[in-house]
Homo-oligomer: 414 residues x 2
């Protein structure tokens, strides 16, 4: 019989002990059961992408570049795809050079490599509160400390950023960068207001803090385009992350990074060290798709799908949980819901799953254990009917919990 | 005008300073000029793969699994592909469970993630001398020290390993693992003899040293199969790395890791942290190819191509450089050539490029600056005629250098 004891426990690196199972990941097993309405994972609705478009992209790629598409490529990524990403970024006001773009294995790997370039043990990363769970996992892995900055319906609050920086400086902490998801943030769904963008940049410039702007959702607006990217206002102080996962499909694992030249140089070396080169096959598929398909029309299709689902989610909240506060996103995938004081979304999750609905507990999106009375609803994947059903089931659980609490008193306040 | 000064020089992590341009990478620009015969890069000859096989794989994949192929997947990789890799490993005597396999973004990323799990600054990695340049880059990035163990035409020498371990232990150095490419090693081309495999394993077991067995070339034998994998003799002390880059194509960036359960668990977490999940699209393409194509027949085709090129390379060495010592590989991509004493392959490279031939200098394959009078010839990519032409051009350079040296005295011995 196989032992499950670890013979190598004495051999791991210090950073290996900072890997932990994410709260989102533990849900994956649950999500796969068809009877459960999953409002948990952040999966795009790729069924809305006509597969003919991919077939055409595949055929065109293999016809013109078959051998190159399956060969090793350069560590910086395919030059043509890099050039094409410039057009995407230009939609949010960014001027860029093809030389300053690095293709990565999803923008997740871009963030991972950048974190490796900057973070030593004990360094501080500033982030929204709440912030993207996948980013928090990376920062933890690099033994960094995440300091959340107060965020409201207009995104990160500049005065809160200022006082956070001041407090950290007073403690002589090393702030390595500010990590931001300015548009339809994961998990809050909020967008950083235009006026705040300039203020946040100014504060970072003044305090010599690099900004990592992560923008996977910006093109998925429902009504009006998002404000111009922070990167459109500053070239030297910002590293910008983009992704094809939400405007095309995540299965290719292709994202991109636009960085100042010195950082870009290091990023290319880190990319080469980690994976030799990004997948030529995935990159050239996307490049061919961008060239041959009406990709802007397809983004419009996705916007329509997600707008309808956002509407379904907000209507269902109104119908079944009118007493709860929720963000009202103008794009992207997520609602951020505040539970009645004293309810614990993590403790409640097994009960929800018993009622055949899943969500992500708020604590997943904080590095400091807060967020107990918050939860994230992801409306991107289920159909509008299923969203309504899921939120109805959720209301059963929440209402029961609220009742119990009112009857027996608030938890933790005995 | 853009500044090329680095505003963030004070912000990088300690490990970021250990990234450096590899000597192989600097050659990529040269290689792309068609008039240069490149015996440098390690590119497989993917033109020998009929593209119809990929088209069939693509069509079958999209027909049965179109939406899954472009969606996020699990962090451990596609279960079906993991199951299929068991068949590949069984060809070298390995019994494995699908649960213990992790799919990675090329085996390079497998090694990168493992290195992150084990290496702290100053730790020691044991490796063949010479060893794979891409592995050395990773170890350097993690601020580890590589200790090369003497290697001859039968691979790593067990007694040399024993004395190396003894010496390091006497210095109280922390040896984290032994990194080995046992079959048709890069760059030496040599294969670890069967009798030595058991001895090396025994030494590692006795000294509680984990073995990382990296085997991208094992199935590309020319005459007879390689000895069974080290992993076939030990399940708890070995992490095994496999790859589809050489038996199919590298552009998919798909490799796999077979690891003891505790290490596997950490590896999955590290994979998720770094990239969320490996590319579903690439994984399912390969899975579909393995299911629908005669992949064993295709490996036989590759063997024939590389056997012919190995023969061409050895004949050309005999014809143009009969005075030089070279390894005589029974598989894989590489010859390892010893120059006359006093010649420096790195210093000679620009002269070779002027003669329109490129190779990789020996120093790239050592972490300690040795290997000056060695060079690697990769015969996998150019046609037999081009190989002959390249080695002929190389002989012009080497013979001139030897002449100069005989006339003016050896360098460094003034």
């Amino acid at each position: 019989m196989r032992q499950n004891l670890d013979n190598w426990l004495d051999a791991y690196s210090a950073r290996a002990h900072n890997l932990s199972v994410s709260e989102v990941r533990a849900l994956f097993a649950v999500v796969s059961r068809p009877e459960v309405v999953s409002l948990a994972g952040g999966m795009p609705y790729v069924a809305a992408l006509p597969k003919d478009l991919l077939r055409e992209a595949y055929d065109a790629m293999m016809k013109s570049n078959g051998d190159l598409a399956i060969q090793y490529g350069g560590g910086q990524g395919d030059a043509k795809l890099r050039d094409q990403t410039r057009e995407l970024m230009a939609l949010e006001g960014i001027r860029s050079s093809v030389e300053d773009i690095v293709i990565t294995t999803g923008s997740q790997h871009g963030l991972e490599l950048l974190s490796g370039l900057f973070l030593d043990k004990g360094d501080v990363v500033l982030a929204e509160g709440p912030s993207y769970v996948g980013a928090l996992g990376i920062f933890r892995h690099y033994q960094a400390h995440v300091e959340h900055v107060l965020t409201d319906n207009d995104g990160m609050i500049p005065s809160a950023l200022e006082s956070t920086i001041k407090a950290l400086k007073a403690q002589s902490r090393k702030i390595k960068f500010l990590y931001l998801v300015p548009n339809f943030a994961n998990p809050s769904g909020v967008t950083l207001a235009k006026a705040r963008r300039a203020k946040i940049l100014e504060l970072c410039r003044k305090n010599h803090i690099l900004v990592i702007e992560d923008n996977p959702y910006g093109l998925l607006f429902f009504d009006k385009p998002v404000p111009d990217a922070l990167r459109s206002m500053d070239e030297e102080g910002i590293v910008y992350l983009g992704s094809f996962s939400k405007i095309l499909a995540p299965g290719f694992r292709v994202g991109y990074v636009l960085a100042p030249p010195a950082i870009r140089d290091k990023l290319v070396l880190a990319n080469e060290s980690a994976i030799l080169c990004p997948s030529s096959f995935s990159q050239m598929m996307i490049s061919s798709y961008l060239e041959h398909a009406d990709w802007k029309g397809q983004v419009e299709t996705f916007r329509g799908v997600y707008r309808e689902r956002r509407d379904a989610a907000l209507s269902a909240m109104e119908e079944h949980l009118p007493q709860l506060e929720t963000t009202r996103p103008d794009g992207g995938f997520y609602l951020w819901v505040t539970l009645p004081d004293g309810l614990d979304s993590k403790a409640m999750l097994p009960l929800a799953v018993k009622e055949l609905v899943a969500y992500t507990p708020g604590t997943a999106f904080y590095g400091d254990g807060t967020g107990q009375n918050k939860l994230r609803i992801c409306y991107s994947y289920p159909t509008p009917d299923r969203i309504n059903l899921g939120i109805k089931r959720l209301s059963t659980v929440i209402n029961l919990q609220t009742e119990l609490q009112e009857t027996f008193g608030k938890k933790g306040k005995k």
